[in-house]
Amino acid sequence: MTEQRNYDLGRREFLSRLSKTGIAIAGCGVAAYLLYDPKGPRPGVKAEDLVTLADFSVPQKDGQTISIVQGPDRVKTVDKAIELLGGIERFVKKGETVAIKPNVAFASPPMLGATAHPELVAEVVRLCYKAGAKHVIVTDNPINDPASCFTLSGIGRAVSQAGAKVVLPKDHLFKHTTLAGGKLIKNWPIFFEPFKEIDKLIGIAPLKHHHRAGASMTMKNWYGLLGGRRNVFHQDINTIIAELAIMVKPTLVILDATYVMMTNGPTGGSVSDLKQANTLIASTDCVAADSYGCSLLELTVSDLPYLAKAEKAGAGTTDYQSLKPKLAVIQESQR
């Protein structure tokens, strides 16, 4: 009798326990769902391990913040543009190490204007050495395969011949950074190591239409410093460009509008996307350089919201006229 009762109870007990177990598991599932944090734990980089790019800017000089030189020969126009700002010696001192960050985003021939022009980058390398630079490195973290980009754009060969060292991105050259007050650049990997020991930083960008951002100029050029899945920032392209302009404080930027990619940017693909504008801008103020540059794309400052955002954050001024740009024209006959 007892055995029988135990058997009956055991079966019911089993079902009862099974039910309770099921309910408990379901409860755990519901609790887990409610407590689920889609962002998950924060990255493993501790605050003390975060890095910050140094400030490479030089003291401002009234009337020598931006220069605009017209002419078809990039070598001559960049020489003149820098001369108008006080000469290369204002920016590079004897014994310094200089990093040049051209736009080498694509494995594309120089003729298409999707990347900085090799002759221009090589000339800036030569100028740096002329000013007494100890080392000049040229680096970028391209969209496409880096080696192909430096090779097919012609930049690798040109700057090597001018004496610079090309630094290609490697895993260990990236470190995490957080931009103080930034919305997007938080604990994000940037191409940092090549810039750690340098004294000066020069950005060189071609002037291009950009399908997402409207225009790609000197501020957008810093996008090449971002690592990781940086395409996520395309969802908020204006904010990321503005934050880059705040994060990077270059010595000098050069915006090459000798040929402007008017459509189908940023890659282009045909010479018919280009318009010869014969203009080159040099500036210590990225925002001012880009604000002038957008006019060559037949855009206004208000067409590119990142300009106002960067200005508001103190990265520069959109009112480039207030800086009294130095102007010059180099006639073709002078080539």
Partner: protein, 344 residues
Amino acid sequence: MGSNRHRVRQKAGLESVVSICILAILFLIGLGVFVKQSDYDMSRFGIDTASIELSSQQSGLIREKKPDLVSLRPAGFKTLSEAEIYNPENLYEKINGKAPLYLESSFVELFTQRFVNNEDENLWMELFVYDMATTRNAFSVYSVQKRDEVELLPSMQFAYKTSNGLYFVHGKYYVELVGSAESAELLQAMGQVVDKISSTLPADKDAKIDKLALFPEEDLVLGSTKLYLANAFGFGGLTDTFIARYKLGDEIITAFLSKKDSAAEAITVFENYYKFLLDNGGKELPTTNPKIRFVDFYGTLEIVSVAGPFVFGIHEAENPQLAAEVQKRLINKLFESTKTLQND
């Protein structure tokens, strides 16, 4: 006694069913956990994917699948690099900011291959084959990017060349051949690649885009038709919109046309686009026909009209008389071409 035994048996059966149900639920929960964990996105859990992904980002390649692009190599050229394949996840690694243009047009895959001249390393080309799923999508990305003042290639439905490249639609594929220089030798080699693609890459190359036939042919600028799958003229509600340009004398008039799923939807789009124009600085001009609206848009004329499932009109015309003329032709062509309109 018999009824007790029956009740006990009934209860045991019920308990078995409940047990099976509970076990099934547990199995489903387990299965759910298994399926979910197999789709593990490291970046969602704060793991540093940057360094892990950098090598693949640098290579820009997905190596598991390669099309036979090498066989498209023109005579006198060799491959310059490995074939590359990109999908919607990593297309940005190849074309960065231009990726959204393709992604918004149902992009499937991109295959690329570089060829270099055997004798001159400065003469090279890159072949881009975008699989856009349909001819319509391929036409859209082709037409939106089409350069002005190019040489159309009449041997193909949608094709042109510039001084350094060839661009065309091949069935569901949008193909670009981009040269490193303005070179007759390169263009000739590109022609060979085009021939090989036409003969070897399976595609419905004669697939028609029927809406293009709704535009009147008189004064139509050849090769001027475009398809905006979304956001035509900056208005989000104007989807699947075809445009065509007409040259009357020295004036260019742009006509547009979009077919909606129903007449009711067309009326909604018609009203919303009209409102969009007014909200953005347009000024209403008098009209007696409720299905046609005229708007003075900063000195240009916008005509918006609706008939059956079609929203159509003229965009930013500087000459009102010529705009009206093209609008009239467009209406006539639509009436000729569609029974829907005749019944409207």
